[in-house]
Amino acid sequence: MANTAVDMEERLHAPAHGAVATEAVHAEGQQHPIKLYLVVWGWLFVLSTFSYLVDYFGLHGYLRWSLILLFMMLKAGLIVAVFMHMAWERLALTYAILLPPVVVFVFVAIMALESEYTHFLRVLFFATPS
């Protein structure tokens, strides 16, 4: 009885959503040559080694920070674009998912200002007099 109901429900929805949609995905998209994945995999290894070497060689200051950020963004980009197939999705999905995290930078700016201020107050009032 329950199965009949599910059957009915599936028949009602299948042409509009389920079946055709999955067919479309199979046909349009996420079928890529294995070689592409292997190349990206290799690059992720290389980039991870680079970011480890940044620490190993004890680089300092802005050079260290910019290299860390560079390798991080490259790795994140490769994972999202190729492994998660974002490069082949329609822009409606890509922008819906990738734009909102960008707003986090506003939060970063607010909290950076706030922590500078907290740090200033701590130095002013709580630092041990030397």
Partner: protein, 240 residues
């Protein structure tokens, strides 16, 4: 069937690209994500919300580290290991990074074989991914044990700013939990794949619906996201 297609503009073959495509997709009836199933769209939206959670953790870590007047412990030294008499800075974290990246690689291959309907290879690659994930969690447990033995607590540690422990346990703990659930998820789906559920269209235990190989890609999205979060934790917490 042809009529169904004709009366269903969402499935018409010619879809606009670029900005006009975005406007057309979002302004259209019923669904904005045209060639993406609800399962995949919902996984992406879940991952977006998870992004915000991890962003908040990393932000609170940034705030704690920027506002403290006490020096932050040097992660390069804190996470160093002595292997065979050699002092190796950060070596365990580097190995954990490579393990997780390898697991992402095997997962991507599993998705590929899934869409080729290669039942056995897909299941094996998913189980290899799960094994890498379990290895990662094991190494993390080792790392936690080592730090706790050395006296790191959420409220203090022997080397500097007391917020170090709280940030460390919160961030890596939450990430490790994600990896653990990912391993369980992978094993559950690998079992279904191996049993041939998606070839004979067996009905799901909870949903009574027929599944298909797309679930491998959805599992993969979650798994790659866990790897992605680690990329950020590695950069901001361990290397910074």
């Amino acid at each position: 069937m042809a009529e169904t297609v004709l009366t269903n503009p969402g499935q018409s073959p010619a879809r606009l690209e670029g900005w006009r495509g975005i406007a057309a997709d979002w302004a259209s009836d019923q669904r904005a994500f045209k060639n993406v199933s609800w399962g995949k769209a919902m996984m992406w939206i879940f991952l977006l919300s998870d992004t915000f959670i991890f962003s908040c953790f990393l932000l609170s870590y940034m705030t704690a580290r920027m506002s403290t007047t006490v020096p932050w412990p040097n992660p390069s030294e804190v996470f160093a290991l002595n292997i065979g008499g050699n002092h190796m800075p950060m070596i365990l974290i580097a190995i954990m990074t490579f393990v997780l990246i390898s697991s992402s690689g095997t997962m991507a291959m599993a998705v590929n074989f899934g869409y080729r309907r290669d039942r056995v290879r897909t299941a094996i690659l998913m189980l290899v991914t799960a094994a890498f994930g379990a290895t990662f969690v094991g190494m993390q447990a080792f790392e936690w044990t080592k730090l706790i033995m050395e006296g790191v607590r959420p409220w203090g540690n022997p080397w500097g700013a007391p917020q170090f422990g709280a940030s460390f346990f919160m961030i890596t703990g939450f990430h490790g939990t994600h990896v653990t659930f990912g391993v369980i998820f992978l094993i559950a789906i690998a079992r279904k794949v191996f049993r041939g559920d998606f070839d004979v269209e067996r009905r799901g235990f909870f949903t009574s619906r027929r599944g298909n190989y797309e679930i491998v890609e959805i599992t993969g999205l979650y798994w790659h996201f866990v790897d992605l979060v680690w990329v950020f934790i590695f950069a901001f917490f361990y290397l910074w």
